[in-house]
């Protein structure tokens, strides 16, 4: 029996046939140019259609001038967007996939910073994340927005798109009306479920009228707001869905989770289970007559399959398709492994005001389909290439070079591939980092790359291997402690703890000079094993690097609930045998923290590029990639590994 039967089986919605059950869901990209879909959009969506996704949902278009949610938003209410939308439709249709455009109004989740006017929401209460007080919409405002949705729907369907999706999920005015968390109105649009659903129902009716009977009209709902109080629960959302779908207005319902108190749950990181968003979708699938689309972190076909077996009819695998657009096509070919999405959110999370364009840590081509070929040209002459370092940069470089016909040998000082990423994978909740190591390592082996583990490359190995070119991917080392340490005082490093090699006492002080996931992850690894655990940081807040994505919420909950004591805004003066002397960043008061038997320091990395410098001086052809150039992250390592592999 073919266990992929379900996921690859077609589904008919109205007169439209989806060739399989895999959906590329809507998400912010920051690709728009002058508020219109741009070239990047066309290349990006076309690639996912070419790779076999059945349905592409274009990132939310703004339906009304009262809304300016982010700088590179598509202003669907403007006629000038038509060319871009039409080009996307043509590109996607070339590959037999369907395409609908999401339509949206951010409501109170936008700010007036860009529009320089008031924001609109059901009720005049400050938004919990931005703090901005919106205007409670007057009836004519509601009518205007309903008309905006309808006009956009009519225009886009006439352009050749297969339909539209109405967003009442995360970041939407319609959800703000549906939810008692944000809707405190006392008129016909508030209080009872019927009233809260009224605005959304009016939008759907107007959209269906405007679009006509042919096009698909989808609806995105929030299945669970995960709010501390008052938010929509799965049963509430199901009841709303039943009301909104009646009368054949809606052709599918996509079920998200997360809202104002849980932004990080709409596209959750690897710390959350892959099916974390499935429960409300399962519940809806039991009650609704129309197909239900599951969302969240589905990255494996196995999970997709099991969701389909539970009555869910469509599965969004958005991030999996960012990492590997060809996942659907590969699923039909035995042995063709897809590049795994590891749910790291490092490149694809672009929901902040600096407007970075979407990238993908594991797939350097994502968003750059028009400028970067799928694979490198075969090398003019096969060379013997030595890659120093089997971290992600070295592995990607080895694969790229081998794919182009070079003979590749990889030297790695440790006994395993992965480099420092292997350590990152040992942080509780971060095990998925190992998936990309495994993928690249297996791919390298299948391309005939040879590995020499436990061996450090130097000039003599280059000679003994008769290497004609070298790629230095020697990674990074912990930088020295930036404060004086008195004799006899030893600091453990996170790796000592994560690998279990360091002797940890009962009372631990962890000093974080990095500000990312590593320190808090290491602390969590210790929590419960020790009597006392204090976490010291000179920053304003713990782990500031986790704040923009909202991921900090998860880590803070874990850490505070496990009793870790946080001390912030303290600069470290020196470490002595009796403890650590600190100075208040603002109070300028000295303090001596004592009573610890174990000190742990988490410091930023510093590049390890001696080999590169040495070989360059010796006149060897050598390229550098990843952390040994400048320690940044996984995305830079893979991107530069690929690029080094293309240069030889």
């Amino acid at each position: 029996m073919n266990h992929r039967l379900n996921v690859l089986s077609p589904l008919v919605i109205r007169q439209h046939t989806l060739k399989n059950r895999i959906v590329f869901g809507p998400h912010r990209t920051n690709f728009a140019v002058n508020h219109r879909p741009g070239d990047r959009h066309v290349g990006y969506y076309e690639e996912r259609a070419r790779g076999g996704a059945a349905l592409i949902i274009i990132e939310g278009g703004v339906v009304h001038p009262s809304d300016y949610p982010y700088e590179n938003a598509i202003f669907a209410f403007k006629k000038e967007t038509e060319t871009g939308y039409r080009r996307i439709a043509e590109a996607v249709h070339r590959h037999g996939s369907l395409v609908v455009a999401q339509l949206n109004h951010y409501g109170g989740q936008a700010t007036g910073g860009l529009s320089r006017r008031e924001v609109w929401a059901p009720s005049p209460f400050p938004e919990v994340n931005t703090g901005e007080v919106p205007k409670a919409m007057e009836e004519e405002d509601i009518r205007g927005v309903v008309a905006g949705f309808a006009e956009c729907a009519a225009r886009l369907c006439a352009l050749g798109l297969d339909g539209v999706e109405i967003n009442a999920g995360q970041h939407s005015l319609l959800r703000q009306f549906l939810s008692p968390l944000t809707n405190f109105r006392t008129d016909a649009y508030g209080a009872s479920l019927e009233n809260r659903a009224r605005f959304c129902r009016e939008v759907l009716e107007a959209v269906r009228r405007a679009a006509g009977p042919g096009p698909i009209v989808g609806l995105r709902l929030c299945g669970d707001e995960y709010a501390p109080w008052g938010g929509l629960k799965p049963e509430d959302s199901r009841d709303l869905a039943l009301r909104l779908c009646s009368g054949g207005l809606v052709d599918y319902v996509a079920v998200e989770v997360g809202s104002i108190y849980s932004l990080y749950l709409t596209a959750a990181s690897m710390c959350h289970p892959e099916d974390y968003a499935a429960p409300p979708a399962r519940l809806m699938a039991q009650s609704l007559a129309v197909p239900v689309c599951a969302t969240g972190s589905v990255v494996s076909l196995e999970l997709a399959e099991s969701l389909l077996a539970e009555g869910i009819q469509l599965v969004e695998m958005t991030r999996a398709l960012i990492a590997d657009p060809f996942l659907p096509v590969r699923s039909g070919c035995a042995g063709d492994e897809a590049r795994p999405c590891i749910l790291c959110n490092q490149g694809c999370f672009v929901h902040w005001e600096m407007n970075p364009m979407l990238t993908c840590a594991v797939n350097p081509r994502a968003g750059r389909e028009g400028e970067m070929p799928v694979s490198g040209k075969p090398a003019a002459r096969s060379k013997k290439v030595l890659v120093a370092g089997a971290g992600p940069a070295g592995l990607e470089a080895a694969c790229t070079a081998a794919e182009r016909g070079h003979g590749v040998v990889v030297y790695e000082r440790w006994e395993r591939p992965g480099g420092r990423l292997g350590l990152a994978a040992k942080v509780p909740g971060c095990g998925r980092f190992q998936n990309i190591i495994d993928y690249l390592y297996h791919r390298a082996l299948s391309l005939g790359v040879q590995f020499r583990f436990g061996r450090l490359a130097d000039q003599s190995t280059v000679a003994s291997e008769s290497a004609e070119a070298v790629i230095a991917a020697t990674g990074s080392l912990p930088s020295p402690l930036p404060f004086p340490v008195e004799p006899g005082v030893d600091f453990l490093m996170p790796e000592d703890i994560l690998e279990g090699s360091g002797a940890v006492g009962r009372r631990v002080l962890l000093v974080d000079l990095e500000g990312g996931r590593r320190a808090v992850g290491t602390a969590l690894g210790l929590a419960g094993r020790v009597e006392k655990l204090e976490f010291l940081s000179p920053e304003l807040v713990i782990s500031p690097e986790l704040v923009p994505s909202g991921e900090f919420v998860h880590w803070y909950q874990e850490a505070y609930q496990k009793g870790i004591v946080f001390r912030t805004q303290l600069e470290i003066v020196r470490a002595t045998p009796s403890g650590v002397e600190v100075l208040g960043s603002y109070s300028r008061k000295p303090e001596h923290l004592k009573g610890f038997d174990t000190l742990v320091a988490v410091v930023p990395p510093t590049p390890s590029r001696d080999l590169y410098d040495e070989l360059q001086r010796a006149g060897v052809e050598v390229w550098a990639a990843g952390d040994c150039v400048a320690p940044r992250g996984l995305g830079a390592a893979i991107r530069e590994g690929r690029s080094a592999g293309l240069k030889i």
Partner: protein
Amino acid sequence: MSSAYRYLFQNIQIGPVRLNNRIVFTAHLTNLSENGLPGERLAYYYRERARGGAGLIITEEQSVHPTDRAYEKLIEAYREDVIPGYRLITGMVHQYGTKIFAQLNHNGNQGSSIYTGLPLWAPSPVRDPLFREVPKEMDRFDIARLVASYALAAVHVREGGFDGLELQASHSSILRQFLSPLTNHRRDQYGGSLENRLRLVLEVAAAVRNVVGEQLALGIRLSGDEFTDGGLTLEDTVEIARRLDQSGLFDYINTSVGIATRNLYLVEGSMAMPPGYSVYMSSAIRKAVKIPVVAVGRIKDPVQAEQILRDGHADLIGMVRAQIADPWLANKALQGMNDSIRTCLSCNQDCIGRVGLNKTIGCVQNPAVGQEKTRGEGCLKPAPKSRLVLVAGGGPAGLAAAKTAALRGHRVILWEKEDVCGGQVRLAARLPYREEFLDLIRNLMHCLEEAGVKLRTGCTASPEKILAEKPDAVIVATGSLPQHPPALASGGENLYTVRQVLEEEPELGQNVLVVDQQGFYQAAGVAELLAGRGKRVEIVSPNLYVGQGLGPTLDLEMWYRRAHQLGITMTPNVTVLSVKGSTVRGVHNYSGREVEWHGVDSVVTAAPNRVNDELYFALKGKVAALYRIGDCLAPRRVDAAILEGYRVAAGL
């Protein structure tokens, strides 16, 4: 020339360039570029300051190399297609006799690779505290490329019609990173001794000089003091300046303070910083060099500028925020119209705060900033027909609307229920270190009656009174009302809003808990006020740290230091749920644990206001043209009030 100024309006020679006066609009970020290039919007922005009489304009930094895109809107001077935009700018500015220099820069490790995908360049692999990215330690090829890229950018600047160039070696710059032992740990000929640390700057200057010859002026901007352990001190900078002067490569020295990504609050001091706070630096440098020196640092008015020149602290005066708020400062001073200068508050909300959040530059007082083409001086056209306009409310929104409408020839009546105008701004100015907010009211009230506005203070605008006037248009600007946070809405004997504390000055107990739901100056300021009166004050906030909103306006560091000195306790991450007598209960947002306070004498709440929209809804449908603006539309900050007042009246 105005007799009040002996120095400010004297000519001065900067290398080959002669300036009409000593007022400089120095470099600052605007985010007005378009796709990495300067365009019309930026050109009109500079033009407005040239029309207003500035002697010299120095553009915002222009990036010399693709490894530097520290922020999205950075202009890329290494692209040849930058030249048409440069010509547009210089052509516009030169029409008014003002000279203009371009600032060239590379931000080094004070940047991010998110836009470029390229490793950052820096002297040593040292992470910047704000951007947190480890840069690449530049090798000799990189250094050669950097020098060449400055030269190429200089070609574009020359072709673009500029009168001079400025190298940024100050608060956010790779050149300073090479100068400073804090960031330069090299052991080659570019690190170690001062001579070595100066090498790159001199190589760059020589390469640039080689391009521009003696036709263009060349200057350098130095940070007077990095104010960081292990960094450059004023003494070091004076020595650096002396050597740079001796090189003969430079025509002037501009100054700055601090490190933008470490202590920006020193670079662009808020109103809590004394006016002219860094003038002592230009003064020290001027004593050591022969070339002209520029002073900066919250120099707000022409009298202050004149005094700095008279006392010999500098040859030129950098006035940025003052000319953002009022582009016509120079001409008004020259014509003896000091009273009509719209004085900058140094509130930092829309110039620094917006730009830091990747938005276009603005000004709370000046709605034309960034929109000079359509809102600059002379753009406000007389109304086709003079109409009777009633404005209800004399806060900033109402005042801005009334003045704008009157200037356009409408007959305007402004009703204000209090005896004086200004609304909540008056209260804001009562908080410690916030009194300069009173200038905002003064500026709006100035010439209000000469503009033809009939003021009716002490007079509440009821629907009946308004309708009785038979107005052509009504602008409702009735503001907002204080309220407690929803959980404490039922109130209590010992519960006060910030507004009550400021307006009614109630007798509070010794132990005060301030419950902050806003994160801005309301709670922070009232806590400081009360602690200054000897109360024991604690601030509790659901945010990750107390005073989150103070960051963008650069008030955070100074307030934190003062708060610690006053013994204010800060409790972040906690949501307050109830107040019963002297017991307050809350919950920790992440642990879920209950938090309890006992013996609290008084609770002061800072929550967003609610709209005062009664009048608007009473009039809705009863007058032909009805508008509502400012807080009675949605309670926000004063920038929204003034902007909406202007916008509605400009469209009447």
